[in-house]
Symmetry: C2
Subunit: 176 residues, 2 copies
């Protein structure tokens, strides 16, 4: 089951490393810019369609890239000073109020999407939706029992297949 | 099957993106430093034990970190200017001859290692070796049919469980 391994990989190879450092990067950002974020959590977006776009603006114009947080550099598996970073987005609601938060798609969902496109992978579009759900439930269980990650994230499952133009900003604001 | 998804993730999320750019980074490195590498391929190390150490020196003192190649920056899944880079290692043989090449462990192998350590994953040490082999064979098949990756890598399976102190430098030099 592809999604099971991808959820574990996302946890041990990424969230377990970056989430404990997130608050420090947000504080560093504040001391460099004076900007306060609406939340110190990483907002992890999981679209049911697995269509993780390159930039969040492509999905909702009320979600605009603001700036990147300071980088984290780690030596990993032979790569010296591998870089980990997150992007801050400005979210605008219907009353033109602005909120700033750290958000990104769960990268492994992009793997599911691209596997369903490559005929060699033997992975259909209907397998894909089921695997996104399995990824979500597996990841949620792992994170709930993880001391390193506790209270440092929001897992946002997005039913984006019949969605109206501002569903992303609306879903993000709900969690802030 | 965990390894199957990890091999696809490693290909669509990494090798397919970085291998087409590798030769350009090696040429940029040459124009900045005058240094010529013994190979323009990415040497991807797969230890059967799944023990992908942080730095290659930890395994063999004849493999020393030299410098990183120039970085590649890409917008991916909501993260702006995500950084991809590789490390150049200096390999010394028994005749004290030096070779320079780009090498790293296949990071997903670390996921297999850490899953076998986390009781919640339900993944034993013997599952792990079998999964490393499955990762290797799946990845080899994907890469053999990939136009983007053709001739730009070396996949090096390492039987590191009973290995002598300089097996890593020896295996790398064999491929150069
Ligand atoms: N958003 C985000 N930012 C990151 O910096 C990052 N780094 C990893 N991940 C995701 O976490 C999980 C575990 O990562 P791992 O390193 O074991 O496997 C990685 C790793 O083996 C390789 N890879 C990706 N980016 C790099 C990189 N910069 N350097 C070396 N290897 C890399 O290709 C695999 C798949 O990468 P992604 O498909 O981007 O998603 C990964 C994966 O789902 C990230 N996700």
């Amino acid at each position: 089951n592809v999604a099971h391994g991808l959820a574990w990989s996302f946890y041990v190879g990424y969230l377990k490393l970056v989430l404990p450092e997130l608050e420090k990067q947000v504080r560093k950002h504040y001391s460099e810019t004076g900007e306060v974020l609406s939340s110190v959590r990483l907002h992890i977006l999981l679209p049911l369609s697995a269509a993780a776009t390159t930039r969040l603006e492509e999905v909702d114009r009320n979600v605009l890239f603001h700036q990147n947080l300071p980088e984290l550099q780690l030596d990993r598996a032979g790569v010296r000073r591998r870089v980990y970073k997150h992007s801050i987005y400005k979210i605008t609601d219907q009353n033109k109020e602005d909120y700033y938060c750290v958000a990104e798609y769960a990268t492994p969902v992009l793997t599911l999407y691209q596997m369903s496109q490559d005929s060699y992978a033997g992975f259909s579009a209907s397998d894909r939706r089921q695997q996104v759900l399995l990824f979500y439930t597996t990841l949620r269980h792992i994170l709930e029992t993880s001391l390193e990650c506790r209270n440092r994230y929001r897992l946002i499952l997005l039913d984006d297949e019949q969605a109206e133009p501002h569903y992303l900003s609306r879903e993000l604001i709900k969690t802030l």
